[in-house]
Symmetry: C2
C-alpha cells in the first residue's frame, strides 16, 4: 500500500541588520531556529558610486548568492534522495530589475526577469533529469517566495510603541 | 515648473554557483554589470542535520541577509536624499516557510510570512518617517521581487544543447 500521508515541516528565520557608521555599512545576524539553532554574522556595504566604502558585498550580492545556491543545493539533495546521477553541477542565474522615477520623486523598482541555467553531467535519461529539476524547483524556499505574491508587513517603533508602517 | 520627466535605470546581476566536493558546499561568484563591474566570491554549505559539513552559511542565510539589509540600506539612502533625520537604524526580519510532502514524494515549499520591524531614532514628524519608509519599500529590489509574482525560467544543458526545463 502506498504511503500517501501528508508530512509538513516549518522553517523559521530571523535576521537583524544594524546601521554602522554614517555611510552604508550594515552588520547582520541571521538565525535559524529549527531544526537546529544556528547564527551567522555577515556584513554589507555599498560601493563608491552609491556613496559607500565597499567594505563588504552589496545586499543584492547576498540575495543572488542565496537564490542561485538554493537551487543548486536542492538539486544535490534530490539527486541523492531520488538516486538520479548528477555530477559537476552548476547553476547560473541572470536577473534584471528596472527602476523608474518621476522627476525628483523616489524611484520605484520592478523586477524584469529571473533565469536559471542548469548544467550537470548525468547518465540518467532526460525525463529523470527533468524530474530532479522539478523536485528542486518545488523545494527551494527562495524560488517559492519569488513565485508567490507575498504581502510583506512592516512596523515602526515610535514613542507610542510599535505601529503598522 | 515641476520636473515630472520619467527617468529609468536598469540593474543586471549574474551569479554562478558551482558544486564542490560530494556533499553540499557551493562556491559562488556574483557579478554586478552596471553602473560598475564588480564581482564577489562567496560560499554556502549545509549543516550536519542536512548531511553537510557546515563550512559556510546556508543559502537561506544569504537570502535573509540580503532582504533585511536591502531595506536598511534604502532607508539610509532616502534619509539622505529626502533629508529626514534617521539615526541608530536597525531592521529585524522574521520569515516563515512551510514544506509539505505526500508520502515519499519530494516536499513542496510555501512561504507563510515575511515581517519587518524598523527601529530608528528621529526628530522628524511621524508622517515624514512614514514617507521615508514608503520610499525605501518602493526602491528595495528584493521587496519588489517578493511582492510581484515572478515566473522564473529554467534551462538544462543536454547533449542536444540547452532546452527549457
Amino acid at each position: 500500500m502506498a504511503d500517501d500521508r501528508i508530512h509538513t515541516f516549518q522553517s523559521v528565520f530571523d535576521c537583524e541588520a544594524r546601521a554602522v557608521g554614517d555611510r552604508f555599512r550594515s552588520e547582520i545576524s541571521v538565525t535559524l531556529h529549527k531544526p537546529e539553532h544556528l547564527t551567522w554574522e555577515l556584513a554589507t556595504d555599498e560601493y563608491g558610486f552609491q556613496g559607500g566604502d565597499g567594505t563588504a558585498p552589496v545586499p543584492m550580492a547576498y540575495f543572488m548568492a542565496g537564490l542561485t545556491s538554493c537551487l543548486l543545493t536542492q538539486l544535490r539533495v534530490f539527486a541523492k534522495k531520488l538516486r538520479i546521477d548528477m555530477r559537476e553541477a552548476k547553476v547560473a542565474c541572470h536577473a534584471e530589475w528596472e527602476a523608474t522615477a518621476r522627476g525628483r520623486e523616489p524611484y520605484v523598482s520592478m523586477p524584469k526577469s529571473v533565469h536559471m541555467d542548469i548544467d550537470f553531467a548525468s547518465a540518467a535519461p532526460l525525463a529523470e533529469r527533468q524530474r530532479l529539476i522539478d523536485a528542486a524547483k518545488g523545494a527551494c524556499f527562495i524560488e517559492a517566495i519569488l513565485r508567490e505574491p507575498m504581502n510583506i508587513t512592516h512596523r515602526l517603533n515610535t514613542e507610542e510603541g510599535w505601529i503598522d508602517a
